[in-house]
Symmetry: C2
Subunit: 242 residues, 2 copies
């Protein structure tokens, strides 16, 4: 892990890094007290474009005493293109424009390669982050592509709790994997999200094997998550990571 | 409104009352500061049986500076029987025991007479409560039979926000009335409530016309609402009543 930049933001230190060819950003509370619990922050891809929103989420974490980190999605931002996923995305846009149904084949080709690539990248990132002096555990995951978060919650035992955002396509195989997930979950669903299949989101919530799982559904469209849900997520994380 | 008993509980004054032949209980913060906003607390019927849980909810209200009040349901507790509803309840128990479907006819006969009777009773109770010196507004409603709460939210303009518990049968006509409800709502749903039709609860949440509505779904069965949802309800009420 190589740090490539560093700047102070309110009560946090923001450091960009690269891990191999994966770019990422780490925010740590300043001044650092004891080793901080860590929140891995997912996002839909494009660190540059997402930066203002990621900073807002990260500063909420550091204000509560957590470190926060994110990495770029495969094929997004400045990373090399991911032709298979790009092709599936083109197919998706074509059927959406034509008003045709989004087939399982398209969803699988769009999402599964991302899951297969991103999950091991998050895990090596986690290795590197937990080796840093100011970062301890436990570890939470928050947001991003829900299929990636689901796989990560299943295979990565260091993740103790996750806040998931039901706003993206879910391959059927991931729905099956969800049944084996057992960590505490808070699932946020935008009820009137025109780009999201509500029934699929409810099916996924139902599928999760976790005994402690909560669904929060709100109005306001895909990007209209109410401000108070940030506080809800913070309280959920605090219940499980402290 | 005649007060029939009075006792001190922590930082609250609990007073039983009768309004005509309707028994009820009022809890007010002690010492009283400015006129308190008021929370009307619904319940499934049986003030005596429900008293410990009602006191816990009421003390959470008074601790936050609200007055809280409840009245007995028609036909419940010490009130005269409600033969039509009792007959529908007997029919319901019979079909549940036989594993037969619960028909719309049974639900209508079970719930609509309660709604027709209880809603005007809540409204005259509200008149009487708001005429007391220590009680101001705004007014919130919380819990109880969701069909009663839905009708009340529709017809009683003094109710500014409501916390609803999706745990009872909903006649189709009430589902239609829900489309005209516009006040802010927090709907609590026990996802694995064996005695509750989950799809009906989701349909009802969907039907509400409120622009500001939130669904919280949790595990734990009908009576297993997690403790943290009490805090959620408190924050929701505070956002809308203060």
């Amino acid at each position: 892990m190589h740090f490539t930049s560093e700047r102070r933001l309110e009560d946090a230190l923001e450091r960009e890094f690269t891990l191999g060819d994966i770019p990422g950003i780490l925010w740590t509370p300043e001044p650092a007290a004891a080793p901080a619990p860590l929140i891995l922050m997912g996002h839909p891809g494009g660190l540059g474009r997402m930066h203002p929103r990621l900073v807002a989420r990260a500063l909420a974490c550091t204000a509560a005493g957590y470190a926060a980190a994110t990495i770029e999605l495969p094929g997004a931002g400045d990373r090399p293109p991911f032709p298979a996923v790009d092709e599936a995305r083109t197919d998706l846009q074509r059927v959406l424009k034509a008003g045709e149904p989004v087939t399982e084949d398209i969803v699988d080709r769009l999402v599964l390669p991302l899951v297969e690539t991103a999950v091991p990248e998050w895990r090596v990132t986690l290795d590197a982050l937990l080796a840093l002096p100011g970062i301890g555990g436990p570890v939470g995951f928050s947001g991003g592509v829900i299929a990636i978060a689901t796989r990560l919650a299943l295979v990565e035992p260091r993740i103790a709790a996750a806040v998931l955002f039901a706003g993206s396509y879910v391959p059927r195989s991931i729905l099956e994997e969800a049944r084996q997930v057992t960590i505490p979950l808070l699932v946020l669903l935008q009820w009137d999200d025109e780009g999201n299949d509500r029934q699929q989101a409810l099916d996924l919530f139902d599928a999760f094997g976790s005994r402690d799982k909560t669904l929060h559904a709100n109005m306001g469209g895909h990007t209209g998550v109410p401000h108070f849900e940030g506080d809800s997520a913070g309280r959920f994380i605090a219940r499980h990571l402290k």
